[in-house]
Subunit: 204 residues, 2 copies
Amino acid sequence: MNTDQPQVANKPPKPISGTKRMIMAKAADLFAEKGFSAVGTTEVGEVVGLGKGALYYHIGSKGDLLYVIMTDYMATLIESGRAIVQDTTDTRERIEQLSRSFMETMFSNRSAMTVCFREIHSLNIDLQENVVQLHGDYQEIWEKTFEEGAKRGECRSVNRIECKALLGMYFYSFLWVKTNGSATGEEISDNFAGIVLDAVGIGR
Amino acid sequence: MNTDQPQVANKPPKPISGTKRMIMAKAADLFAEKGFSAVGTTEVGEVVGLGKGALYYHIGSKGDLLYVIMTDYMATLIESGRAIVQDTTDTRERIEQLSRSFMETMFSNRSAMTVCFREIHSLNIDLQENVVQLHGDYQEIWEKTFEEGAKRGECRSVNRIECKALLGMYFYSFLWVKTNGSATGEEISDNFAGIVLDAVGIGR
């Protein structure tokens, strides 16, 4: 349980320093490999080459570190998704770009996603709700894409269950998509986008 | 880690007694709520109303219990899926029935699925491979459905990435589908099947 007060989801996040990003990436790998509770801050410090004082300066508590690992990739997804919706109007293009953006973020944040799905119950209830809120914010981007697409006659009307089902297809992918497999990230993204395009009546 | 030798996936499983099923269901709820490592066999015994000797008689070790919780719902999915493919030939009907069968199993085994996705790394590597094998066996049922459908001209050819993506949509659903929500299990299943039918070129 995390008894500190990490930044809440609806405040603009503080910029994350390069050192902090490095710590987050290495700690996410450790947590994904061994489990959050099995890894102490001493081990994190050793892996990142920092003493306890310097480590705490960058990350706050171990609970803060877990929370920022779980939320940072969601913030990236949301930022990228909002930019796509702002810069693109065509529904097919939006879907293709959202698909690409998801896969890029997933490929760079696989350990963080593993940790998020496995450890969300380790967060206190307020922080769990923040994580759920971030997922809701991301879902809104896809909902808006489908709603505006349907209004413009570019796709059919998509209900909330269908939208969540399609997003689940993306979020589950971190468990099986191989970064070293024969298909490129682009091919995988296009396969996923193709399913969405078919499902919403646009077609490939 | 489980150092015993629970039944392996490719042997026909022994029938599970009513008492063992009751223990599995209550233990899965406990593990899903508190985490596998936080729950001792004493607590499991208390919740199911059995002393240590009787509990061990039914479940073997705590590791055996975890393994059977993780694999039993997969065995159910596979058995039901194989029966559907054997008894039905039409691709649309197969997809609709596979969708229904998945949702029914998911609704009855949500805690087990939570435990499986969160704790698979707690199993030793051989048992992890058995769980992966069961997922592969289940995937084969869908692959066969798509392959035979394409051969008969009832659907388009579906590649492995698309098949895994569509299955991911189903497996992720235990995280968000509400059993007490406004949509019935049938409606949810029909929404999912509709996406698959569109994605494979059959249409609704």
